[in-house]
Subunit: 477 residues, 2 copies
Amino acid sequence: MKHTKVKELLNSAQTLQEVYVKGWVRTFRNNQFIALNDGSTINNIQCVVDFENTPADTLKRITTGAAVALKGSLTESKGAGQKYEIQVRSLEILGDSDPEKFPMQPKKHTLEFLRANAHLRVRTNAFGAIMRVRSVLSFAVHQYFQEKGFVYVNTPVITGADAEGAGEMFQVTSLPLDNLPRTEEGHIDYKKDFFGKHTNLTVSGQLEGETFAMALGQIYTFGPTFRAENSNTSRHLAEFWMIEPEVAFNDLDDNMDLAEDFIQYVIKYTMDKCADDLKFLEGRLLEEEKSKPQAERSEMTLLEKLNFVLENNFKRVSYTEAIDILKNSTPNKKKKFQYIIEEWGADLQSEHERFLVEKHFKCPVILYDYPANIKAFYMRLNEDGKTVRAMDILFPGIGEIVGGSQREERYDVLVEKMKTLGIDEEELWWYLDTRRFGTAVHSGFGLGFERLVLFVTGMTNIRDVIPFPRTPGNAEF
Amino acid sequence: MKHTKVKELLNSAQTLQEVYVKGWVRTFRNNQFIALNDGSTINNIQCVVDFENTPADTLKRITTGAAVALKGSLTESKGAGQKYEIQVRSLEILGDSDPEKFPMQPKKHTLEFLRANAHLRVRTNAFGAIMRVRSVLSFAVHQYFQEKGFVYVNTPVITGADAEGAGEMFQVTSLPLDNLPRTEEGHIDYKKDFFGKHTNLTVSGQLEGETFAMALGQIYTFGPTFRAENSNTSRHLAEFWMIEPEVAFNDLDDNMDLAEDFIQYVIKYTMDKCADDLKFLEGRLLEEEKSKPQAERSEMTLLEKLNFVLENNFKRVSYTEAIDILKNSTPNKKKKFQYIIEEWGADLQSEHERFLVEKHFKCPVILYDYPANIKAFYMRLNEDGKTVRAMDILFPGIGEIVGGSQREERYDVLVEKMKTLGIDEEELWWYLDTRRFGTAVHSGFGLGFERLVLFVTGMTNIRDVIPFPRTPGNAEF
């Protein structure tokens, strides 16, 4: 007899004479009531054990975390909060879980403790919900782009190019560090390394993605990217997943439209598919915020916040307008900002972005047309000669979630810019080919997937929305 | 006015007065006929230029590879092979393509030449088709698992564990190789490395995946994995994408059923969505095989081969049966195999697998119940004490496409095995926890995504089915 998923049983249209389930015990009350979970849903199914006819030895082994297989009938539940329960006729212990040793006891654990047990934390309600939401959100990403005819491109993780300058890179090598081969001049001989050259982990698939967009029209990447930056913050990971669409013939306005439509689609899709998980996470957040002072609590619940993003357009504000707002803002005048905004050209810090999004506009904001000299070399120079067609999307509580731009499609202008910045043309010969042969206006953006998961789940530390976080000093598991 | 995709125009229900397209010139014939492609489909749209009223200077710039924007009307075509064409009213050159320099001229290029131009090869019919098929196949993978309630898990790329022994690993480091920090004993001081320890690129997400399956029930990974092996073959990449489902409570039979159903689903899905691309690739393969001796040509065309896989069950054969077949086979008796099969226990080589699949059974084959000592430590030991519940799926022309097993769920047996093989228990404490707390029968497999793409596209070199291949000596782009 094949077993049935808990989710299917809870959604059953009728009671059933004969059911078979397998799962893990979440709790066991009164020697009688098992709350059983199999990961298919956040909801447990109550299984009523006939304790008078079950050996005491078996009852003792029904502990939190134990794997069990149960046969019985699905009946209407007399208890509150559940439609059905299982009247157990036979019970088999598949795998024990010593209550003295199993770390995931049914009590409140700190997030730090759970991170140290990342292999087990997914057995809790919160992390089960987060990981299901993450999975559905991933699928929504693929579905959105595929429906629109985008081609999914797996850009390389190991790269010989390190010109982009998006951040510090990890080196990848198969050389023996204890006994590095040397050239006659005494330098490390990378000709002897696996790829015959110095290689790193990618910080972005954008440049490779552009080459594909200029052939396939619309592409997206969705893969791991890396930063070897020693940032021990709640918003940074050394290894994270990034989504990078790139579209030929799109200008910056099209790019903003795409990003906004995309984000709204994936949030809506996930709200439709993960109602139970999100309801649980909303409750978790409310609970967490109770311990905070009133002023720091969210004005909206999690679902209200998600609905707000669906129902409102993102506010589009030029960098120049944003600087004016910031210069005249109370925290700037009262010198409450750590970095006072004095003039046009200043790079915006997280505190400024948060002020704009959370205090001034109170909605997601798209900032665009940034000063050229604080943005990357490949961004399209505006006619004013001093700004570029860049855009950042800022989210409440999260900060920057998207960075994108229209790309500089003019070969001469691009090469000039690379020369100014000392970027090696020879190394990027293939990238420049896109401008040499059939160049055209095109645009794209990068979205840090974990920041999106943070926003949708209402979690506050990015380490809690990826299965096994990689941060300075931490590559356990 | 917004431009329309070529695919949409070719599928139009009617002629249209006013259309606007953007794309790249594939060919320009008789100063009149542009074959325009925008990547949305393998099919070009014919655009008829009014050459008498177009400046000679503009006509000269309509070259292969140039990006153009065209306005005109969509009319029924008088030419063969196309329903519609565009009568061009106005034409703008967006980006030139110097015919003396553009490498992708409309003529036959060798696959080697195209690999050296991986950033441009996607502008050819064949590679456009391959990359669209790859993308749709990826999506089919996600859709299959999501429809069945599997949770997508992003297992880490950077790992501190190197115990699995699936292959040679790349080291990841942020230490300065020119100036390595040393301990007092003179060893490299990995405490000073980014993660505070020696780290590698993952060879498999299976072990981490198992920890999630034992909470969420059914999970799958789909991400990049790495091998630092110096194999310069047409079947190996240093960086490739792997799909690894893992299911709690599944035994080896369930695992075989899942793998077979999964492969058939994704092939069927792709055949439905990519008919034009696959038809083109079928023709390409026929063309390629014309240069081969009759004996080496496929018995079936590409689409016949794909249909064959959909319509026939995979043949399930135990290792022991396979050895008997091989021992009594003509090439074994005539000593045509490089490795003669003499007795039970021999590791099967590619030549043996190919014989079984291509000559003996002539269909995909699942080999199972392998000798324990030629398989990994985590595989479930059978009651005979000498075989394990492993399975490999072998495909014609491709060889091994799937490797999987039921996992050893018994803590004591697993630890015993690890001791025998010298695998560090302390390093895998978290993996062993799955057997300490609520262990249960579970199974999974790994499928090398590029091998699947090879099979579906009919390509023969794995470097031709991934955007930017990574192989020994090659990390260009």
